[in-house]
């Protein structure tokens, strides 16, 4: 019995939902069924949104717990940093709740969870610059990665280097000063061999996805269940 509720029912849920959503996507029985499928499909994605929301809240509590444990275990060296994370997390949630409260208490003010003024301030002045900075930190990494990656160790690496250099010179104006042919050559590489190179990968990824779906359907893919009872 315990195995049934612990493993079999969750796996059955997976199988049934996949079969229904995929089958009714491709099949057509009549207009009524197609319409009710569309509504059910919309409802199901709302279900997923609700579950994800709860998961995010669990995740927030996990982050809180993680930092509380570190605060206790690692002492003063880590404490100020963990306190910063915990503090900002709590403050953000507090402002969000305040905005939520206002959206019901005073709907005319037009303040909602994400538009609460203090919440916006924190978002715009802490989250947004950090987010943008992390994205653009890649410029440093791509420079040091190319320094190492384009080392000519074998013929294949030589091909790699030549391609990369053509693309680099084609992209920059200085390349056009050296040889005007770089730009059309770069365009050719990007449209012909580049497209061709990623096509088999795309097909393969699709096939891999389908076969993984099959393993889920036949209860062979069990890693998502966690422990093996």
């Amino acid at each position: 019995m315990s195995l049934v509720v612990r493993r079999h029912i969750p796996q059955l849920i997976v199988t049934v939902i996949i079969i229904l959503t995929v089958a009714f996507y491709y099949l057509y029985i009549n207009k009524g069924i197609a319409e009710s499928f569309t509504t059910a499909d919309k409802a199901l994605s709302d279900w997923a949104v609700i579950i994800t929301s709860f998961a995010l809240i669990v995740g927030g509590i996990d982050i809180l717990r993680f930092h509380l444990v570190r605060l206790r275990k690692e002492g003063l060296k880590q404490a100020p940093f963990s306190a910063v994370t915990i503090g900002l997390l709590v403050v953000m949630v507090f402002f969000a709740l305040h905005g939520w409260f206002l959206s019901y208490a005073d709907p005319k003010a037009g303040i909602t969870i994400t538009t609460q003024p203090q919440f916006r301030w924190l978002y715009l002045n802490v989250y947004a610059p950090a987010d943008a900075a992390m994205y653009s930190i890649l410029v440093f990494y791509i420079a040091s990665a190319s320094y190492r990656a384009f080392r000519v160790r074998n013929p294949m690496a030589l091909l790699l280097l030549v391609t990369a250099l053509i693309v680099i010179f084609g992209n920059t104006t200085i390349g056009g000063l050296i040889w005007p042919g770089f730009l059309p050559l770069r365009d050719w590489i990007m449209t012909v061999p580049n497209t061709a190179a990623f096509r088999p990968i795309t097909i393969g990824a699709g096939l891999g996805t389908i076969i993984l779906g099959l393993r889920l359907l036949t209860w062979r893919e069990v890693s998502w269940l966690g422990r093996r009872e």
Binding site: F66, I142, G226
Partner: protein, 297 residues
């Protein structure tokens, strides 16, 4: 004699395919709209053929047939990576991405979880410390269980500490990335295993791992990020190899047999491409047939 050995599953599978073809044919003749106009009919047929082919191989494997699989070097390297980290006394890091699992990226997350369970078992076997970071809120519980299972099944329950081993670092892409890169450096990891759907953060992980000279194994099926993994990591899974890795990790012969279905799909694609080009000689456009949407009247 061999014909008699074909199992009931195979017969059933083929019967289903035949039945579907017959029903489709009859309904076409009768002018019944059986399939939706959302997708070309060929897509449905390809999906069906692959599912049935994979299923047939799985049942064949069950009845004892062997399918040798070519080596995937990156998969074999995982054990080496874990062993080396233990020798150096450094922890192993594994991550599989961020975002919600209820998106079309779900299969890649599952492949990542499959690799994670393999890594966790190896960490239990060698007594390595494992740090699994993630940004998938739904998978926190699963990840904890997988890591726990890895240590418990190899008789090392004392190594399991959920707040150390499993770290959820928000589902926001770059907050997750910034915390992962910091974890890699501060914990001085010896091996950095990165398998799942990744976006721009892929290179951040690779370079941060390189800063501490970690042994790096990476893989994704998201095309735009593959170059960074292939060119920077020590070993890489390219595209569909991550799905195969998930099957290899299960260590189960029947599960492994399913990846022969992927091969059927590739052969089918090759045949369709070659056939399509040859038919162009005769002026017949296979493309139109492949794009054909079931529409009566």
């Amino acid at each position: 004699m061999t014909y008699l050995k074909i199992s009931l599953g195979v017969i059933l599978a083929v019967a289903i395919l035949v039945l579907i073809c017959v029903v489709s044919g009859i309904s076409w003749l009768l002018g019944i709209q059986l399939y939706s106009t959302r997708a070309p009919f060929s897509a449905f047929l390809i999906l069906l053929v692959l599912l049935i082919a994979g299923y047939v191989f799985m049942t064949e494997a069950k009845s004892g047939k062997e399918f040798p699989v070519r080596k995937i070097p990156a998969f074999d390297a995982i054990e080496e990576a874990v062993a080396r980290s233990v020798e150096m006394g450094r922890p192993v890091h594994m991550t599989f991405g961020f975002g919600t699992i209820s998106s079309a990226m779900a299969p890649q997350f599952i492949a990542g979880l499959g690799v994670l369970s393999h890594v966790a078992r190896l960490c239990g076997k060698y007594g390595a410390k494992l740090i699994a970071t993630l940004g998938v809120p739904e998978a926190i519980a699963t990840t904890e269980e997988i890591v726990r299972e890895g240590y418990y099944s190899s008789g090392r329950p004392e190594l399991y500490d959920p707040t150390y081993n499993v770290r959820y670092l928000t589902d926001q892409q770059f907050a997750y990335a910034s915390a992962v890169q910091a974890t890699l450096i501060r914990e001085n990891v010896g091996a950095n295993i990165v398998v799942g759907p990744f976006y721009a953060e892929s290179l951040i992980f690779m370079e941060a791992g390189n800063m501490v000279n970690a042994f790096q194994i990476a893989g994704t099926a998201r095309e735009t990020q593959i170059p960074f993994f292939v060119l920077v990591a020590d070993y890489s899974f390219i595209g569909e190899e991550i799905f195969a890795a998930g099957a290899l990790a299960s260590g189960d012969r029947e599960t492994l047999a399913s990846i022969r279905g992927q091969d059927v799909g590739k052969l089918l694609s090759i045949i369709l491409i070659v056939l399509g080009i040859l038919l162009l000689l005769g002026g017949f456009k296979l493309v139109d047939s492949l794009n054909w949407v079931w529409k009566v009247g």
